[in-house]
Each structure stands twice: as structure tokens, then as C-alpha cells.
Amino acid sequence: MNRVNIIGLSLTMLVLVVQIFIPVFNFNNLDIVADILIIFLTYIGFYYGRFYAIILGFIFGVTQDLVTQIDLLGSMAFSKSAIGFGLGTLALFRNIWSPKYRMIFIFLMYFLHFLLFYFFKFNGVSISIMISAQIIVIHSLLSFIIFIVIDKSFFPNGVTSNNN
């Protein structure tokens, strides 16, 4: 196993652990939690392409389902696999899309991810559409802001940079 693989595996494990212990806050009696895994998946998609993003998205999703919501096992795996495919598109257009366009695309992918997930989660549950929409948007925004912060802070030539 070469050095890159060891670092990649370690980073994956670290992200998983961080996701498990990340703090939760309450909004309208519903738990809001930042999704670090989707941010990690954004980088995988951007640097390694669709295939790895899909596989890793599925593994992350299943792990997340097993840890947090066994009664909806498969829902996060489904949405993260689909989003892995979408985020992997970033690698195809790395030199074509502008940073602004990439950010819009990433936000849309995050939004789609939470839309899919909460479609499964709120299906058949009596909850208003407005609250559902707010939760989806808050989750998407929170993850997106964290992504921007991380990208701007730790990756000078990252996804939002012009130097790609």
C-alpha cells in the first residue's frame, strides 16, 4: 500500500469519526447537523472523478445510516451515491467551469442531496412543506459554508480557486 493510499484511508477514517462527533443543534425541534462527509466527497469528486465519488459516497452513506438511522438504512447511501455521481462531474469540467459556476453547482448538489434524504425521512410524516424546505436549505447552506471556509482556509488551489 503506497503512501497516498494510506493518507487517503486515514483521512477517510478521520472524516467519518469527525462526522460522528460533530455537534448537533436544534431547529423547530429538529436536529440540524453539518455534513462533513459531503464536503469530503466534493474533494474526492473534484480530484478523483465520478467512480471514486460514487463508491465512497455509498460507503459513507451506509456507515452514516448504520450509525444514526438504522430504520432508514439505505436512504443516505442512496442520496450520497447519487450526489457522488454529480460531484464527480466537477472533475470532468475542472478546466472549463469558472469557480463561481462550480460553487453554484456544488450548492445545487448539496441541496439535491438533502432533498433526496429528507424526501425519504419525511415521507408519510405530518410535517409542513415550509419547515421541510427550511431544514433542507439550512443543511445545504451549513454544509456549503463549511466547505467554503475549509476550501479558502486549507486549499489555496482548491475547488473555488481560479488556479485549476
Partner: protein, 258 residues
């Protein structure tokens, strides 16, 4: 983009497809309320999408079903008519049974197996003959009245001359005074009584019975009912039109009087 060794298989799309299928399988194996609702929605969607195919197939199944139902309808109609026939037969047999139990005469019951209403002799064929004790010139009747007499007897079947045959004659008694007359058939179920004198008081609907004078017919078998009476100054006898009492319309069974 990563390329597969097989050019027409996109590795990314295949990975996506497999992971989505596996995720969906995992999801659908759960039994939470959300998943139950999801299954319901999916089933509803599939049902809606498959409606044209279902509708198209249903036309064929309806055609087959229609054909089958038509066949069954014919069968049931036949069965129904058969049952109605049995019902009628049952009523008739009950009447006959009741009749034979109240009569002092000895009877043989026979099935009518053939009709001949044409020339030269109006007759019926019955399914009993010598072997059953039938001989020539035995009266036949139904539960209502006289129908004729046997005139040809075989081992297992006999021919009987009907009362409507133009050559048939039977001596009768009628009225309070038991006047003697002769029944002669005219057409159909009608006939005339000859030889009843004018002085004999007679009313319509009176019934003529066999007289007992004949060696063939025992006395008091109903023969005919008076329909009309005419008196002619030039004729010493009454002109009496009568209608047969026995029923020739549904000849299925008859009695042979021994």
C-alpha cells in the same frame, strides 16, 4: 473520465446503477412508516405507468371471459329449460300418482315414444307390449279421461289408436238419466254425441262417461264434456258438440287399463 476495458460499458454509470440499486434494496427491506409509505407511492406510480398495458391486456382477457360467459349462458339456458321440463314432468307425475292411488282399476303406466297424427290412423306408440301384459283393445287414458285403445301389440311396444282418429267410436252415458249416446270425433279435440234423444234434459259442461256396454271400455271413464247443444225439429236426437276431457297436448305418459 475513467474508461472501462469494454468500450460500451461506462464504469461510472455502472457503479452508480449498482450502488443505487443496492441502496434501494436496503431501503425497501426496512419496515418503518416512511418506507411503508414509500412502497405505497412506488406501487401507485408503477400502477399508473402500467395502466395502458393492464388496460390492453384486460381487453383480451375480457374477450376470452366474454366468450366463456356466452358458452356458459347457452349451457345454463339449456340446463334451465331442462329443469323446467323436469318441473313440469314432476307435477304431471305427481298428478298421475295421485290418480292411480284413488282408482279401483288396474293400470300399467307407459311412456309415449312416438306420435302419428296423420293418415290413415291417428296413433301413438307406447313402450310396453306383450311382455308387460298388454293385449289388443285395452283402453288407454290419462289422469283426466279416455285417450284411445291399443290396436297393435308387439313384445316391447304397442300402437294405440287415439280417440281423435276418425274411425274411433265409443259408447257413452250422459246426464241425470244416464242416456246412451255414441261419441264420434270430428276435428282436433272436438267431437259429437249421436243418439241422445231430445227428451233427455242436458246442460253444457256435463261430462259423458264410458257406458260399460262395450267389451273394451270399462264403465265410468270420463270421455268428453258438452260444449253446445242444438235441437232440430226435423231430427229426433239432439245435436251435441263435445270437447275431449283427456289431454292430447302433452302426451308423455299414459295409463293402459287392464
Amino acid at each position: 473520465m475513467s474508461k472501462s476495458r469494454v468500450p460500451f460499458i461506462n464504469k461510472d454509470a455502472l457503479a452508480l446503477l449498482l450502488t443505487l440499486i443496492f441502496s434501494a434494496l436496503l431501503l425497501l427491506t426496512q419496515d418503518s412508516s416512511q418506507i411503508r409509505q414509500l412502497k405505497f407511492q412506488v406501487a401507485k406510480l408503477v400502477n399508473t405507468l402500467a395502466y395502458p398495458i393492464t388496460w390492453y391486456n384486460s381487453i383480451f382477457s375480457i374477450r376470452v371471459e366474454n366468450k366463456l360467459l356466452k358458452k356458459q349462458l347457452v349451457q345454463f339456458t339449456l340446463m334451465n329449460s331442462e329443469l323446467e321440463s323436469y318441473h313440469e314432468e314432476n307435477i304431471r307425475l305427481k298428478e298421475m300418482l295421485n290418480f292411480t292411488m284413488t282408482q279401483p282399476l288396474n293400470f300399467l303406466t307407459a311412456n309415449v315414444v312416438g306420435y302419428n297424427f296423420g293418415l290413415p290412423t291417428q296413433s301413438i306408440t307406447i313402450d310396453i307390449g306383450n311382455d308387460d301384459g298388454v293385449t289388443k283393445n285395452l283402453p288407454i287414458m290419462d289422469e283426466k279421461g279416455l285417450l284411445g285403445k291399443t290396436f297393435k301389440v308387439g313384445e316391447h311396444a304397442s300402437l294405440a289408436q287415439l280417440i281423435t282418429d276418425k274411425n274411433f267410436r265409443v259408447s257413452v252415458r250422459i246426464g241425470q238419466e244416464r242416456a246412451i249416446g255414441l261419441f264420434i270425433p270430428t276435428h282436433g279435440k272436438y267431437g259429437i254425441l249421436e243418439g241422445v234423444r231430445k227428451s233427455m234434459p242436458l246442460n253444457e259442461d256435463e261430462v259423458a262417461f264410458t257406458s260399460g256396454i262395450s267389451e273394451i271400455y270399462p264403465p265410468n271413464i270420463p270421455v268428453a264434456r258438452v260444449v253446445s247443444i242444438q235441437l232440430d225439429d226435423n231430427n229426433p236426437f239432439q245435436h251435441i258438440v263435445v270437447e275431449l276431457v283427456g289431454s292430447l297436448e302433452s302426451l308423455d305418459y299414459v295409463f293402459v287399463v287392464l
